[in-house]
């Protein structure tokens, strides 16, 4: 229980494949909104500080992994006196339902928000199975 609750601090070690990362930056779980319209499932992921070339989206089978690499903050000569957020890499993994058209996924990044549009496929036709009489 205690170990589970630690993940609420928004900073969890990378556990995508049970291995450790080589870079020793904190990993932040970004906040996400997911909503479903008539044709699409739309994901909005907050990744402030990440430019569009720092976003890495991979889809393997039904697992959608979103990673964002933020640039370091340019205040090396300054002394930090107050902090409410940490800088690190963003990482979050979702499992998609099977009725997503994987080739039609669109992604865009604007003002630090990643927007992913996942089009739904036409509902699979119900198929009646006839019993053969032996």
């Amino acid at each position: 229980m205690a170990q589970e609750l630690k993940t609420t601090e928004r900073q969890v070690p990378s556990k995508l494949d049970g291995s450790e990362r080589t870079r020793s930056r904190p990993v932040i779980v970004p906040r996400a909104d997911i909503y479903e319209t008539q044709d699409n499932v739309v994901l909005l992921v907050d990744m402030p500080g990440v430019a569009s070339d720092g976003v890495d989206i991979t889809l393997e089978k039904r697992t959608l992994a979103i990673r964002g690499y933020a640039a370091d903050q340019p205040h090396q000569t300054y002394r930090q006196v107050y902090a409410e957020y940490g800088v690190g890499d963003y990482e979050r993994v979702f499992t998609l339902s099977e009725d997503i058209d994987r080739d039609g996924i669109e992604a865009s990044q604007k003002n630090g928000v990643l927007r992913l549009v996942l089009p739904k496929t036409a509902p699979a036709k119900a198929r009646k199975i006839q019993l053969k009489t032996a």
Binding site: E36, Y78, Y82, V113
Partner: protein
Amino acid sequence: MLLSDFGRIGFDPFLEMRRMQQEMNQRLAGLTAGTAQEFPPINLWVGEDRVAVSAELPGIAPDEVDLTVRENTLTLKGERTPRMEDEKFVWHRRERVYGSFSRTMQLPFRVDPEKVEARFANGLLEVELHRPVADRPKKIQIKG
């Protein structure tokens, strides 16, 4: 013997308990991640005669943020509006916050309102403020 009996009737209390615990943890995780912080979160750096403030404002256009400086306070104001192109939709997950926000922070010294540099890129606001020349500490030489 007892366990195998449960297996036969199709009910495993331990499996049920584990599932309940998992579900509870998921719900708690969502609760704290969504409401714990003030918006926007800020960081503050102090250099020699200058102070830098940065704030995470994802999803907000640069012209939607209102910055005001007064003596030693800096106020950040704005509104984050949801942009849904479709009228009909169902939420699956809602963790991002929307609405108007206003935060006033106290800086360690008075700042020059004419010398404020603000940059906004990728949802990250960086403001650099300078201490007025008249307010800077003056070093006094001690005669021996």
